[in-house]
Symmetry: C2
DNA sequence: CGCCCTTTTGAGGCATTTCAAACATTGTGG
DNA sequence: CCACAATGTTTGAAATGCCTCAAAAGGGCG
């Protein structure tokens, strides 16, 4: 998000004046509640591209909320291959999958300079006692994460690589829009290879498909900057993935 | 599970004498706790194959735990296609993805005659007040579900169809083993087509791959009954998906 | 300016899909 | 109890979309 419109937050930001209070788990809290919540939150970072918030296998120490920047969550399999699970943006909470056995089953790495908040695992009980309603919001955040995972499975279930890429671009568009950024113009925070891994297709295919969509006038791509020229056309590709004839709407 | 070893539970079963108390969210409760928990639980079913526990779009009314039988969870996309998200067995909790916006983003359908428990959404607050520690278990169940979803994504990220099928068979094996059933012999509760949809490959391919694995002596298949003849060989296929030469261990 | 890394573009091969038909299995009604 | 329908499964042959390997082109950064 850092690269998309919104300025990098100052170090003195806290939950009462945070940009993302409508997206974060604080969204249902009033000013007093947010001030109280802030007592349980530690600001961290900024960390640089490539640095990790946590590693697969690490003992759970806290839950995380992105404050600025962006993060890629991924899994390493026994066979050595890596699978990207999610890209996370400001306001997104991550790390609760570690609540199952107190160890992180995934890793999270910064895609760019990134700041984040942590909520100590030890203090979750106290937080819940102090702000009972916040549990509901945490559950909601978890449920949203589950739903996002379902979306990812649905995306991978789509046969055509084109449909996957189109779905991906639309997903990003919606998430940026939810954060007050442009729905139709944004910077990709990840490399082609990282997109490819997330979509479970080859990097070269991603490249080719960006080309295809550009030739058809559906999007304009310049390096990592994407402009969606026809949202309906992109949605059509996301649904049936048909390439075939002239379809630019 | 009904078809795998364990007898169908009697109608008088409750949380204090439930077969699945080591898997269910009650697993950390003592006898008194379970008795208390049982006050919040309603027994439902049995329902028949094809009947639904809940439908995508339904208003959230309760959380669900399978007691006997098996369930398929799936998503309908706008384009009309369907994507299987998970297969659930006794002790598994489902439905909490609806906590995000109070409506179910998925549907759940019985694969066979199935009984289940419901925990009314309205009474979750009272339950939490009465049994504070149970929240931790519910969070754990949710985290397990998230982890399972990551596993599904990893599975779909694997390129070869053979690796996907092998991973799937191993996943089932582990889950049956966790429930005290045989790890190496079990009945599939779902059709070939349902497996294919879950794995995002064609039904015909599933058929062919079952044949391949059988010819190679890795498994023996008779209709829906599967016997794993070589766990190591199946694991090898799950990791690299290489078919190539003689590899029967 | 030159090196390195990412991205793009090209050509060929192959795994998987698709379409189609034979086959088995289960359930149903006469 | 059998014939038949309906459904699910297997098998075959051809088409194709994506991957792999390889090389060139473009940016970023010292």
């Amino acid at each position: 998000m850092q690269s998309n419109v919104i300025a990098f937050p100052s170090a003195t930001t806290n939950c009462t004046n945070c940009h993302w209070s409508q997206i974060c788990v604080t969204r249902s809290l009033d000013a007093a509640g947010r001030a109280e919540f802030a007592r349980y939150v530690t600001h961290r970072g900024p960390i640089k591209r490539g640095e990790k918030l946590f590693r697969q296998g690490d003992k759970l120490s806290a839950l995380y909320v992105i404050r600025a920047g962006s993060v890629r969550v991924y899994c390493d399999s026994e066979s050595g291959s890596e699978q990207s699970i999610a890209f996370q943006y400001p306001g997104d909470m991550l790390g609760f999958d570690a609540l199952a056995d107190s160890h992180h089953p995934t890793s999270a790495v910064a895609l760019e300079t990134t700041s984040f908040c942590t909520i100590s695992h030890d203090r979750l009980g106290a937080l819940a006692a102090s702000l009972p309603t916040v549990w509901r919001e945490i559950m909601r955040a978890v449920a949203l994460d589950v739903t996002a995972n379902h979306g990812h499975v649905q995306l991978l279930g789509q046969r055509s690589a084109l449909a996957r890429l189109a779905s991906f671009l639309l997903n990003l568009a919606n998430r940026f829009a939810a954060r007050g950024c442009s729905r139709t113009e944004y910077n990709l925070n990840m490399s082609r290879q990282e997109i490819a891994n997330y979509l479970a297709i080859a990097g070269e295919t991603v490249s080719r498909l960006f080309g295809e969509l550009q030739i058809r006038g559906v999007i304009a791509v310049d390096r990592r900057f994407v402009r969606i020229l026809s949202l309906p056309a992109l949605q059509a590709f996301a649904q049936d993935g048909a390439l075939e004839t002239s379809r630019s709407a």
